[in-house]
């Protein structure tokens, strides 16, 4: 970005290798009286793959939406690469930052949605090249080549000129993944990306995400009900309930030996009785 203030450059450059890429400080989100997130503190380091689990309504998806600036927190502060995302503290008061700040920072962040949200008026290729061409302003030839590679990676090289409506759900979600990756994000947010898919095609989408997790160092924050996938891909699992993190562990420990009673009953419901504590 040409107009980035110097202090921000310093913040980004000066960050230690294991400094948080995403940091939540006392973040709250409420709609009227309904508290969705409450005094949330956590951070995600570079290259982390963090899975958020928990019952529906526990605020997992809201966290992704806050990072993507689809919604604003009502309390607290969120930092990306050490920079405040939407609000910062000035003289003890919470102040909203200029909108330019979030616009600049969110270019580092990509998101894949449960409902794909491909643009139905564009072809598959147009969906993928839209942002690299018009947001990043990269040269057309370069963008097209990269889009071709991405389509190949998600196994849809032959669908470049198809419209999303002619694709299956699994194919659409693979295009959505390619579209997010085309922006070369530092952080990838995955919001229940397989929940809208038929069971037999969940695997093809998860397989691609596994490959991406293996081949890149993109920081991933994901909400999923696919516990095996969470186990395979992530290095940390956060269990949410009532807008708070109630347990945090490595996936192996979380799934085989949860400590919190609420986590146990949740995993029992999701995985089935026999899978917990027996391994």
């Amino acid at each position: 970005m040409p107009t980035a203030p110097e202090q921000n450059d310093d913040a980004a450059r000066g960050a230690a290798p294991d400094a948080p890429v995403i940091e939540f400080r006392d973040v709250g989100k409420r709609y009227g009286d309904n508290v969705v997130l409450d005094g949330l503190d956590f951070s995600v380091r570079k290259g982390d793959r963090v899975t958020l689990i928990g019952p529906s309504g526990s605020g997992k998806t809201t966290i992704l939406r806050l990072v993507m600036t689809l919604e604003d927190a009502t309390e607290g502060y969120i930092f990306v690469d050490g920079e405040p995302l939407t609000h910062e503290e000035r003289n003890g008061r919470r102040v909203e930052l200029n909108k330019k700040q979030r616009k600049r920072i969110r270019q580092k962040i990509g998101m894949v949605f449960q409902q794909f949200n491909l643009f139905p008026n564009m072809t598959v290729l147009e969906n993928i090249v839209e942002a690299p061409l018009h947001v990043l302003g990269h040269p057309r030839a370069e963008v097209l080549e990269r889009a071709g590679n991405l389509l190949e990676k998600v196994g849809l090289a032959d669908k470049a000129d198809a419209h999303p409506s002619s694709l299956s759900g699994g194919q659409q979600q693979r295009v959505a993944i390619a579209r997010a990756l085309a922006m070369d994000p530092e952080i990838l947010l995955l919001d229940e990306v397989t929940s809208a898919l038929d069971p037999e095609i969940v695997g093809e989408v998860l397989g691609i995400l596994r490959t991406i997790a293996e081949e890149t160092d993109i920081t991933m924050l994901l909400v999923t009900h696919e516990m095996q996938f969470a186990k395979d891909v992530s290095n940390r699992v956060l269990m949410f309930d009532g807008g708070r993190i109630i347990e945090e562990a490595e996936p192996e420990a979380m799934f085989s030996n949860p400590t919190h009673e609420r986590t146990k009953s949740f995993l029992r419901a999701v995985l089935g009785e026999d899978q917990i504590g027996t391994r």
């Binding site: 993507m68 600036t69 689809l70 616009k103 969110r106 270019q107 962040i109 990509g110 998101m111 949605f113 409902q115 949200n117 491909l118 643009f119 139905p120 008026n121 564009m122 839209e130 942002a131 018009h134 947001v135 409506s165 002619s166 579209r179 997010a180 922006m183």
Partner: protein, 222 residues
């Protein structure tokens, strides 16, 4: 047997004789006004819809009030008002402007509904991709909103087409007026007026069929 009422005393010769002047009025005035006014209304309607959505609140409020006012008064009154207020303008120009502006207020509502029909997920995707406001509107929202609105806009164009006879109150020789002129000169009214009705029917019916076919073709398969 009672004699047929005079009104049904149909004379083919008068019918054929009146046809050329009717067709010429149809092509040169009725169709011209419909096409130009539809174009004006379609563009102005979008401008109004975007203003209501994007302009600062006071500006949007004024535009909303004006649009409401225009919708709530009869087009004949608006034609007469504009005719006497702008005597230096050609009646045909007045006609095109009044029809265009009047219908733009209806079309703006269609656009508004079309814009509202674009799912929230589309807006969220444009944010997630850091798209500019301009690109969001021109590449994503408007193209999708237009698909939803084309049929309704087409129906308003047909309505406008059928409203063009109101132009006779400001002396424009559109098709009905041409029929009345023929009638006045030849003392035969029923033939030209019947033909006017037939021409309207022949023009609007296929157009409405076309619109409903378009509606089916434009719908996104999901």
């Amino acid at each position: 047997m009672t004699p047929l009422p005079a009104a049904l005393d149909w004379d083919w010769e008068s019918a054929f004789e009146s046809l050329p002047s009717l067709l010429s009025a149809f092509l040169q005035v009725t169709l011209l006004v419909t096409v130009l006014s539809t174009a004006l209304a379609a563009v102005l309607g979008l401008v109004i819809a975007m203003t209501l959505r994007l302009a600062p609140r006071p500006v949007a409020g004024v535009v909303r009030w004006i649009a409401h006012f225009i919708r709530m008064t009869p087009i004949v009154v608006q034609l007469l008002f504009a005719y006497y207020a702008f005597l230096e303008l050609e009646p045909l120009t007045i006609g095109v402007l009044v029809f265009g502006i009047h219908y733009s207020t209806y079309m703006s509502e269609v656009y508004r509904a079309g814009i509202d029909s674009v799912p929230a997920g589309q807006w969220e995707a444009t944010t997630a991709l850091s798209m500019s406001t301009r690109r969001t509107w021109t590449a994503v929202i408007i193209p999708q909103a237009l698909r939803a609105t084309v049929p309704a806009l087409g129906n308003y164009a047909v309505s406008m087409f059928k409203d063009t006879p109101f132009l006779l109150v400001i002396g424009v020789v559109e098709m009905v007026n041409a029929g009345l002129i023929y009638g006045g000169n030849n003392f035969r009214y029923i033939e030209p007026i019947t033909l006017v009705g037939v021409i309207f029917l022949l023009a609007s019916y296929p157009t409405s069929l076309l619109i409903s076919r378009l509606e089916k073709r434009l719908a996104y398969r999901t």
